[in-house]
């Protein structure tokens, strides 16, 4: 049997490589995919009397974008989100996460807002419900309120084309 030893050794080696090399550290599987999006009701930035809840979006495919005014990568994807909003591709809700300095309203007024609503998650509790590890993170939620996709990091044309478009097509939106 010893003549098989080199082969066995090599297979173990390849196994390691395959496991290690193709693990993308950014791909954290979200336990929420395929489950009901956690419920919340939060006041809106700029209008504390109005509020937003995922229940408002029932029957529509929509995108929840977790961002913050202090987040640099969010500024990076801002331009692309503006394009999406202008082309009315999908309704985008921007969860304003841990904005302790309350900068969001002024910032959006200055650079423009791609969001149809900006709920304010001051203490980050809703973010925890969604398993947010950092900003920006983006979720696609379907007509039945089920999370269908989670993306960590900024969105650009390529990510959109490779990851979001096929999913949206699948959802018929």
């Amino acid at each position: 049997m010893k003549r098989w030893l080199p082969l066995v050794f090599f297979i173990v080696l390849v196994g390691f490589f395959a496991k290690g090399l193709f693990l993308d550290p950014r791909e954290v599987p979200s336990p929420f995919i395929g489950r009901q999006a956690p419920m919340f009701t939060l006041p809106l930035v700029g209008d504390a009397n109005a509020s937003f809840s995922p229940a408002d979006m029932k029957g529509r495919v929509w995108m929840l974008n977790v961002w913050a005014p202090w987040c640099v990568s969010c500024r990076q994807e801002h331009g692309f989100l503006m394009q999406l909003a202008q082309a009315r591709v999908i309704p985008i809700v921007g969860l304003n996460w841990k904005d302790k300095d309350r900068e969001a309203e002024a910032l959006l007024a200055r650079i423009g807002s791609p969001y149809m609503a900006v709920p304010e998650d001051l203490d980050g509790r809703v973010g925890i419900d969604y398993g947010v590890t950092g900003t920006p993170e983006t979720y696609i939620i379907d007509q039945a309120g089920i999370v269908r996709l989670k993306h960590i990091g900024p969105i650009g044309p390529e990510v959109w084309k490779d990851k979001f478009e096929p999913k949206l097509k699948e959802l018929g939106a």
Binding site: K100, D101, G134
Partner: protein, 148 residues
């Protein structure tokens, strides 16, 4: 020598060689593996003070100071969340610059100051030492959850 004896001798030889090699490897691993810690981990007290390890991150802008002897340099290594002051005596590599990635090997003093015995020189400007990149990545994640 009979084939059977030859085989036995061969196996003994191989086993002996493997045994020696394994013993040496284990011994060397025990004392010579250099672990890596990010500034955040060090501030959290996860790094040992009893043995040498590596620290990685960015050289904080404006933190490089040279002592009067011209050879001792102090600087601050940061992963953007936490920072550790570092002292090094000797000539620094060409690619050592403020705002650039750095990896240093040395020991942590009880005063929280890291004394480097070696600041790693890398071959390429565009190349971030993997440990430094790792530290920044970790910190970026941590920062977004902790800070603010």
């Amino acid at each position: 020598m009979k084939p059977r004896h030859k085989k036995l001798a061969l196996i003994t030889l191989v086993v002996a060689a493997l045994g020696v090699a394994v013993a040496l490897v284990l011994n060397a691993f025990n004392s010579n593996l250099v672990f890596f810690f990010s500034p955040t981990q060090i501030v959290n007290g996860e790094a040992p003070t009893s043995r040498a390890f590596r620290i990685g991150g960015l050289v904080e802008a404006g933190s490089i100071k040279r002592e009067a002897d011209g050879l001792t340099t102090t600087f601050v290594v940061t992963d953007t969340a936490k920072s550790i002051p570092v002292t090094y005596t000797g000539i620094l590599p060409d690619l050592f610059k403020e705002g650039k990635g750095v990896v240093a090997e040395g020991r942590l003093g009880s005063d929280g100051r890291f004394t480097a015995t070696q600041v790693l020189a890398k071959h390429d400007e565009n190349y971030m030492p993997p440990e430094a990149a790792h530290a920044l990545e970790q910190a970026a994640k941590a920062q977004q959850t902790i800070v603010k």
